[in-house]
Structures are given as structure tokens and as C-alpha cells.
Symmetry: C2
């Protein structure tokens, strides 16, 4: 009965080894060795991909075309194993807590702005076929997907939408989708997912073709303010939804590590 305990011990040892965090020594000092910033794969792909995703969400990583190949697994796991939904929920808690602090005027000019793609409607199914953003943007493929009008609602955002209406806000949905080719499909999709009762859906009309989302959306929001609306909150999955002019009293960045809109 002695021999069989050896593999047992060995397995326990290797199990422990595998499960230990990569570095257990506390490095309290920021690195002082004068080495330049590490290469893209840094301290292992796992850590690099976490950094990359944080960089995207904090608007440090911009104008990227595709998810780094080595991060496909990380992004896929993030999107489908629960952390994405957890992150969404936390943003919603922040929004609800802000909502309760707003002194409403009930003059029909208290407004909120919501983006559509990956804010109201999820394109996760589509991006699954694009290796979660590892494949370059495919305008024809995306148009075909969006034309079907089958994107599911992002449930916490639908709840927010209904809460906003209930409280008396005017909700403006502002999207970079092309009005001519995707207008009707978008109206249908929002309706079949329960986004009913918004003040206005604003799609990209001809005059804004080719403009960056920051400029186009800033212009739209400025026009809303000129109409007298007070934009209390502005929610989007891209920093281009939230930057520029007339951004609103508070902006809320929903997570999206799958693509970048300039």
C-alpha cells in the first residue's frame, strides 16, 4: 500500500502547482529595472488580454481593427461565461442610482440618449460567427444580419428603457446605422424586442455619411439640446457614443471588447 501513494502525492503536488497564482511574491514596487514596456504578449497572454480589454473600456486602446488573435479565447469567455452580464449589471446599478438623484422637471424635456447596437440590441450572435471580433469588420455581412431584424434585446437595457419611460424621460435612440438601408429593419427589431414608446429613433441620414460617429452623434445631441432637451444620461457601448459635444450630464460606457467604432 505504499507504492500507490506516490502517484497520489505527485498528483496532489501538481494540482497544487497548477492552481497556485502565477506569482505569489508581492511586488510592492512598481518595476524599477528600467526595461522598456514589454512586448504585446507581456506577462502571458492571459494578463495581456485582460490589459487589452481594460484598455478598450478605458478608451486607452483606440482605432483598433480586430481583437488581437491571442485574445479570442479571452473575449469569447468574457462574453459568454457571465462576466459581461455581471459588468452590464454593475453599470445598470450605477445608472439606477443616478436616475433616482435626478430632479425631474416634468416639462417633457428631461431626456436620455441610448445607442442601439450592443446597447439596446445585442449583436453577439453575429460576432460569434466573426470569432468574437478577431475577423475584420464586414459591412456586407453586418448589413445582412441587421436587415433580418433579429437581434435580441440586451435585457438590462430594456429594463432601463422601460424605467426611463415610467419616470417620464423622453428617450432618444441614436444609431450610426444607415437610415436608407436599415431604417425599417431597425424599427421592426426594436419593436419586436419591446423597445416601444421612445421619443425618436435617429439613424444616420445622407448628410452624415462618412462622418465619424463622434461628430455625427455630437451634432444630433446638440440639435436635441437646441430643441430644449436636457440630456441627463447617455449610454453606449462605444466611446464615440459618449465623447464630443453635448455628451449629457453623465455618460455610461457599456462593455464591448468585440469591435471599435471611430
Amino acid at each position: 500500500m505504499i507504492k500507490p501513494q506516490i502517484p497520489l502525492l505527485l498528483i496532489s503536488f501538481f494540482t497544487l502547482l497548477i492552481m497556485l497564482p502565477k506569482s505569489t511574491s508581492a511586488r510592492l514596487h512598481p518595476r524599477r529595472d528600467g526595461t522598456p514596456p514589454s512586448s504585446s504578449s507581456g506577462g502571458g497572454d492571459g494578463k495581456f488580454c485582460l490589459s487589452w480589454r481594460l484598455g478598450v473600456e478605458a478608451n486607452n486602446v483606440v482605432a483598433w481593427g480586430t481583437v488581437p488573435r491571442e485574445c479570442q479565447e479571452e473575449v469569447e469567455s468574457y462574453m459568454i461565461d457571465g462576466q459581461y452580464e455581471e459588468d452590464l449589471d454593475l453599470v445598470m446599478q450605477q445608472i439606477f442610482s443616478f436616475l433616482n438623484s435626478i430632479p425631474l422637471s416634468f416639462d417633457s424635456f428631461d431626456a436620455w440618449v441610448l445607442d442601439v447596437d450592443d446597447t439596446c440590441l445585442s449583436n453577439l450572435y453575429y460576432y460569434k460567427t466573426k470569432r468574437f471580433g478577431c475577423e475584420p469588420y464586414d459591412p456586407v455581412g453586418f448589413r445582412a444580419w441587421a436587415s433580418k431584424g433579429g437581434s435580441p434585446a440586451i435585457s438590462p437595457v430594456l429594463q432601463l428603457f422601460n424605467k426611463l419611460l415610467e419616470k417620464g424621460f423622453k428617450v432618444f435612440l441614436v444609431t450610426g446605422r444607415d437610415q436608407e438601408t436599415l431604417g425599417q429593419a431597425t424599427i421592426n427589431n426594436l419593436h419586436n424586442q419591446g423597445f416601444i414608446g421612445y421619443q425618436r429613433l435617429i439613424l444616420r441620414s445622407g448628410e452624415y455619411k462618412g462622418q465619424s460617429a463622434v461628430r455625427y452623434k455630437s451634432d444630433i445631441r446638440q440639435k436635441l439640446e437646441k430643441e430644449g432637451y436636457r440630456i441627463w444620461g447617455n449610454v453606449g457601448d462605444q466611446w464615440s457614443d459618449l465623447r464630443g459635444n453635448s455628451t449629457g450630464n453623465r455618460t455610461f460606457k457599456l462593455p464591448n471588447p468585440m469591435y471599435f467604432v471611430p
Copy 2:
């Protein structure tokens, strides 16, 4: 030799169980069950604390006084086990790549703005004594720490600083530290850590007392622009360093989950 294989199999089975991700079923649909956003502890403290930290870095979680108690371990591990440094490195890569794209004028008006606390100089040692931000802000304690002038440089930022000087930028250090009480200690600390050759160190003078960092720093940057400086980049660990007016062509948010400056 058959019996001993049973514990072996059992151990392998439990090892596998432990190492499997919490949920292996791909939840491609955002939650559609109509439940309200989950409570603060959400899907377990680990997930919640990741969400909270992301919320801080994306400027969704604002005006918070202390790190949530249940997140002390997560924040501590983040700061000392390497991910913080990895995240810093990634931001630096983005900055260096931006730097190389800037068309310099060599007229002495190409400028960068850097914050000081937890941008140039690390207060990690101090915050270790404050349970990594779980204890409320202690102005007396912080002043005592800062007065010593012993905060270590954040090495990648020191490298950036030297690269900026080498390229010919004018570097402005803009800090919310009180000029009267911390001016000399800050000058000494920057010097003893190698921050030598900056254009100007701007501390909070009497006229800005009590103002939010966003207003104070916006005002300083506007004055720099009025002097003719072009602010190409603006680096800070707080969103209040990066928001407001004259924010610079690009802003870079360094990670800091330990405290919030309004």
C-alpha cells in the same frame, strides 16, 4: 493494482471539477428573465469586484468614498501581483505608438500634461496602510506621507517622461496637491525620483482651493493653451485629470482602483 486507481480517478475527477470555469454552458443570450439588476455581490464577490474595478476605470462608477469592503483582496492582488503593472505597460505601448505619430513643430509649444500622484509617483506604500482604499480618505495621514517626499517613481511613467523630453515636448506636471504645504516636498520627491527637466510643476494655489479637480485642471490646461501650447497628450490616474476643457488630443487613463478624486 486495481484498488489504488480509484483514489487516483477520484482525485483527477475532483481536480477537473475545481479547475472547470464556473459555468461551462455558453449563455449566448443576454439574460431575458426580467429580473432586476442583481444585488451588489452579484454572481459572487470575485465577479462583482472585477465589474466594480472595470466600472471605475471606465468612469461608470464615480464619487465613491472607499473600495467596497468585499473587494479589498481583489484590489490588493490586482495592485501587487502583477496585473496593475501589466495594465500600465499596455497603456504605455498605446502612448508610445501615439507619440510616434505626432507631427512635431519644434517651436517649443508641443506639450504634454502629466498628473503627479499615482501617475508620476506611486502612493501604493501609503495605501497599503489604508487597506488598499478600504479605509476612508485621511487628509492628515496623506499629507504626512507626501511631506516625506519618499514616493517612488512609477517606472514606466518615468520612462515616458524622459522619452517626451528627448523628443522635444514641454512637459507640464499638474497636481491637485496644495502648493503651500506640499510644494517643496513635491519638488524634492520628483527630483529624487528622476523627474528632471519638466517645463513647469503646477500645484493647487489658494485661488483654486475647494474647487473640483476637473474645474481646477481644466482651467490650468486652458491657460496653457492660451499661452500657445498644444496639448498632445494628457495622462492621469483619475478621470478628473482627463475630463473638462482643453483635455488634449489624446487622454490616457492609468489604472487606480484605490481612490477617487472628484
